[in-house]
Amino acid sequence: MNSAHPPFDPGIYGPEAVLMKGITGENWRLKDYEARGGYAALKKILAEKMAPDAVIAELKRSALRGRGGAGFPTGLKWSFMPRQAPGAKYMVCNSDEGEPGTFKDRDILRYNPHQVIEGMAIGVYATGSTAGYNYIHGEIWDIYERFEEALAEARAAGYIGRNVLGSDFSWELYAHHGWGAYICGEETALLESIEGKKGQPRFRPPFPAGYGLYGRPTTINNTETFAAVPWIMLNGGQAYLELGRPNNGGTKIFSVSGHVERPGNYEVRLGTPFAKLLEMAGGMRGGRRIKAVIPGGSSAPVVPGQVMMQTDLDYDAIAKAGSMLGSGAVIVMDETVCMVRALERLSYFYFEESCGQCTPCREGTGWMYRVVHRIESGRGRQEDLDLLANVAENIMGRTICALGDAAALPVRSFVKHFRDEFQYHIDHKHCLVGAHAAVVGNKAAV
């Protein structure tokens, strides 16, 4: 295809890169990965016959938290697996990356697939699992094919299969592709999907560690989480922790999209100021003024630009700013964005992607979209702002999975921080940003 893809820029991951250190865009194959020290962590663990508990203890020390969005401590999650339970147990990698703004797992799998395989091998070893699946977003077919190629290389080299590298450790790993459903990024919907069903989330408890894939104990982690494991096992949990901040260990890949000069993935240490990340991304496009940032994927509450400019990028600092680090998807908006229109587009997304299982989400997402749509198109009523707050509140906490909350949080935060724009739409039947185009520039087509 004639994509106008710019040449790969190895500097894009930044000088602090750990996960993506040494990546050139071409060196994704097994021999390249081995040449930059790949599979050394797995070899070390197997050679030393390291106790699974010791692997988990090292992870706990690293303060590695789930990179998919929830930020759950990885070591703790792995410790939930009933290692001694007989029979099949599974380790699942969640590469169903569809949270608007997030595109880091695609790059990890494209440029460094063996790091994910090695991380999964260590995970299977530490949790006493028997096999793994990597669930890859349906829309990135070439990435799925590349992962299959990487799997074939790893099998041929003896990293996957029976008696890995002559040890008594055996496991299997397979790739499974999605086919267009945001909800399958939710871990229990993802399990349903691997089982060949509609991707509708399961009620918990039971949790996957007790009853997961095919009813067997299962651990699910994000792609980036697995990718961080080999470095931690080689360099120690303490060293990883020290890359970041207490309770926020390590580096993180931030996907920067929207109104910046150089959208893309940037790997920085947790705790890095947002202002520095923005600078790495080339600053605001066209030198315009920053208006708002969604710091953790579309489900995270929006933060006013000036607040974000004072915020550091770690789980706790972003929480303090009223949002969440989520998947590390930083959506940057400048002054030309109508926040009513931006919210309308996001609300449509959640309405479209609600799996329909829970009434508050199925009905509420459509309701919120219709109300925001009517405000945006100049038919809003004064009572609509209270109505939005009410519907959002009645979705939150009343659904099986987090999609309901994910739909409600943007609504609440957009109205909270940019209430004047919603009010202007209701009062004047048109847009505040459009009316001030002479000052802020032409309204962005969103």
């Binding site: 997030t102 595109f103 829309e139 060949g196 929207g258």
Partner: protein, 158 residues
């Protein structure tokens, strides 16, 4: 119903799962069937159900749940444009308008010559490459400015 080549590929998928979990291969099997047949007719879905030992309704549920399955015929080239917020901030709305104008169709329509179908997509996980157009489910076209779209259409029309 399906070619030997497709069946072989489906068998490869089935082998990824435990012997008593053939149903796990249904997503891949339907994608392969769609690629061969253009869309998923009831007959094709029934065949997949029989092949994997599933109830037909269980296959219909999957086919109607995931958006990349086409239950009705589509044009020779299905173009799917992500217009979600991050992409929109980088020109996806302009890209979509340009495509609509060039093809003379709206969302979910097919050109009279049957060559192109236009669909609005949700996040492909490629926001850094916006605007992005997914061509026939498997080919991601990145940085699709109006000029890049013109070039792509000319290539696809050959």
């Amino acid at each position: 119903m399906l070619s030997g080549e497709s069946l072989k590929k489906i068998d490869t998928e089935v082998a990824k799962y435990p012997a008593d979990q053939k149903q796990s291969a249904v997503m891949a099997a339907l994608a392969l069937a769609q690629e061969e047949k253009g869309h998923l007719s009831t007959e094709v879905m029934d065949f997949v159900a029989g092949y994997l030992g599933m109830a037909p309704v269980a296959v219909y549920e999957v086919a109607s749940f995931y958006t990349m399955y086409d239950l009705a015929p589509v044009g020779g080239h299905k173009l799917c444009v992500c217009t979600n917020l991050p992409c929109a901030l980088s020109g996806a709305v302009e890209a979509a308008e340009h495509l609509k104008k060039k093809l003379g169709i709206d969302w979910n329509e097919t050109t009279p010559d049957g060559r192109f179908t236009l669909k609005q997509g949700e996040c492909f996980g490629a926001c850094g490459d916006a605007p992005v157009v997914l061509v026939n489910n498997k080919k991601m076209a990145s940085f699709m400015t109006p000029e890049a779209i013109d070039k792509m259409l000319a290539e696809l029309q050959k």
